[in-house]
Amino acid sequence: MSSLSLQALTKRFGETPVVDGATLDVAEGEFVSLLGPSGCGKTTILRMVAGLLAPTSGTIMIGPRDVTRVATHKRRIGLVFQSYALFPHLTVFDNVAFGLKRQGVKDVAPRVAEALAMVQLGHLGARFPKELSGGQQQRIALARALAPRPSLLLLDEPLSNLDAQLRDDMQIQLKRLQRDLGITSLFVTHDQSEALSLSDRICILAHGKIQQYASPEEVYRRPANGFVARFIGKPNALTGSLSGDRVDIGVPLAFAPTVALPASGPVEVVVRHSDVALSRTPVTAPNAFAATVRLRSFVGARIQYVVGIEGGPEIIAEVDANEPAGALNVGDSVTAVIDPAAVYVSPAPAGASGGTTGQAAA
């Protein structure tokens, strides 16, 4: 097991930076997710760590070793691909034995058996990949990556080709396996729930830049900027203008500043669906607004409402189906309450056209 350290890692294709000065430390045995929308550079970072792509500048350290210019096959890493990438001409046994043989391990059989036992597929050794289901193929890919005992495990959206039920099972298996083996892991995903539930720390990326690198709770509760606030959880993304210690979104909204803000001017305001409380009776609290229920939809254990704030915008509120607020009907007059600590205000992006550039961590 080794730690991983990226310093000012940059990759440009032509003039466009795909990864722009990423600096990241992953401790020994830690599970870190690279999370971001498609095109944010997360897979590019992973491929550079694997050595499948050469960085334009910056360094990659695995443990004490600078591997920036080391060829892939000398890095001692395991990589699990989204496409599984099993060798179609080899049996499951030979797939898992591949890395061991290349490392000159003499007696591969027990090591292969051990790796297959980790993913509970010891009985499938003689099969060919095309004879397996998607979930089985993905577990074989994991066993194949782990069999040579790499110092670093890289996972490139390994669960996104599986159906929802299987994905949950695999998530739990993966988490347990990673913890038991204590292997340092870097996990690329665009699925925030996957990242939140699996990771020790999450690195959120946008436009090739790291937006925030912190624990799942921290990222969820204290987003570093507007991008993170909008990306994590289900957000109401609003625009407003600053006036004193409040932000005007049609109604004055109190908030607790988390990032440096200008004295006045346009800002982005994010309030998560789950942070809007609804009550039939009037409430005295900061940020209590009279509102009307306009739509109600049932989403399993929770109820989603679209409510119109009097004199303000329409926002979405999500409440537990068992709460009293779960029984509201369309047309009901309610009080919407928003905790000031759950209001994330950040400067509007340069250009203020709702564009998505220039959202580097403030």
Partner: protein, 282 residues
Amino acid sequence: MRRLSGAALVTPLVLVLVGVFVGPLLVMLPTSFHPYVPGQGIGTSWTLENYTVAFTDGYYREVIGRTLWMGFLVTFIALVIGYPLAYFMARTTRTWRAVATLLVMFPLFLNLVVRSFGWIALLSNRGVINTLLMDLGLTTKPIRMMFDMTGLVIGMVHIYLPFMVFMLLSSISRVPRDVEDAASTLSASPSRVFWFVTLPLTAPGILAGCTLVFVLTISALVTPRLLGGPTFKVMSTLIYDEFLVKLDWPSGTAFAFILTAIALLVIWGANRVARRVAGGAA
């Protein structure tokens, strides 16, 4: 309903094949079992001699052996030259691929006879290459490259290389890059990635390309005729002469069937091997 429309769709092709391919073959089959009567043509009695002589007569055996050896050499050389070329084409940029494709295809645009005469101009005793070598003083006597295996193989490789390259190209392009990348993350050096992953995954393409080139080579007529001359014969030129020079139709027909049988045998064998090699891959 679906079966019916399927049958309707293949009917024209089947009719054409039966009419112009299977039909004439069947018409010719009896001829190969009649004796050749000099001055009279095809006899009326029945005999197997046209076939047995092909395997007992030293001259005919030599021609058959030479044909197979030529097929093997041309196939082997086309593979050795064609694989790196196809690999380059599959992995290079779009622009380079277009350039290479054009270069590989270009010989196909030229008439076969013109190309063969081009090789004659290059390879003959007083051709470009020998003149150059002698002028440079590298050799005093011309090196014989015509009317023997060397010239024939050079000419045939030139003609059939594009077929090999395009068969290999489609096969190499289909190898998923992720699978090769996976091998290199599993400590396989680039040469081992090629040896243990790329090559086995392209084996069906190699087999298909080799089968095609081999069958085309052993049945080619124009190039052996021009580059091999009247004395250095292969099966196709022999058949041609039996029919049109010696007017010995029964013997020519028998040889034609032997050549067809060899070609079918090679295709059948290659299919069997392909199924084995592909194993789980297909």
